[in-house]
């Protein structure tokens, strides 16, 4: 139980850290990294939930995390390409900053 809380708590900490970074950083790339950190936190938490006091771990959170990772990777890839195209066109317009 305490191991679980430790792991889960670390996940929560990562998550909050990511949230904080998302809110205070202006560059969109940093925001993207912040989201990924947040995602890692949530996945961390889910993995911690799978632990069952010595019994074989619950496979459901594992599967959820795998699904989540693929989704997160896809989104990150798309966002990165967006960012690169935007850079090619001269970056975020002045009035949008």
């Amino acid at each position: 139980m305490s191991t679980q809380l430790l792991y889960g708590g670390a996940g929560v900490a990562l998550c909050v850290l990511g949230l904080w970074a998302f809110l205070v950083h202006r560059p969109l790339l940093r925001k993207l990294i912040a989201i990924n950190i947040m995602g890692s936190g949530v996945f961390h938490l889910l993995i911690a939930l799978a632990e069952r006091d010595g019994a074989p771990p619950d496979p459901v959170p594992h599967a959820l995390v795998l699904t989540g990772i693929v989704v997160a990777v896809s989104a990150t890839a798309l966002a990165l390409v967006f960012g690169r195209r935007l850079d090619e066109q001269g970056g975020v317009p002045e009035d949008e900053r």
Partner: protein, 221 residues
Amino acid sequence: MNGPARLLVALLAAALGGLLLWVLATALAARPEPALAEAAFAALPLTGVGNPVTAVLLDYRAYDTLLELAVLLAALLGIWSLGPPAPAYQRAGSALRAMVAWVVPLLILTGGYLLWAGGQVPGGAFQGGALLGAAGVVLRLAGDPRAGLPGESLQRLLAVLGVGAFLLVGLTVLAFGRDLLDYPTDWSKWLILAIEGAATLAIGATLAAAYVGGRPPGEGR
């Protein structure tokens, strides 16, 4: 964002973190019997696979995985819609080329192994696909503009392979009056393997194509 505002956000975030930790501790303390895990293990023989995570991904919650592959496809289509890729990197020197010639087949082989092993032990389509994608990344870094991917129409085929295999199997069993993706028990193992194989290829190709970052050559002219 200026200093005081940053501090405020930090304080709020810290407070939120504290609250969440407390909530988590409360939730874990009052945790119910993990009925879902027991059920997942109990039903494992019916799925034909030995790895419970694979069973969840491709049988119990296969519908999630289907949508997730669709997410992957959407990302790739979005990337393609934004135009042609950036120019390729400089071709690798001979030393790097030699290494790439070793690493890429190894990655592919390992990917295949992970896919096969995923039925019984940790591993599976995603891990295998990730390695295939990594092979593509290595190729692109070594100067191959296409990251080892085939031409446009084949790339399109690879991209839809995962969702396609899912839908093919799912709709076929649906046509026989079963639930969507309700595999007949005898065939379950092989159907899962087939879907996983297709998904591995799709994930690998999609990741590599996403790394290339633009629509494949031959399209749009």
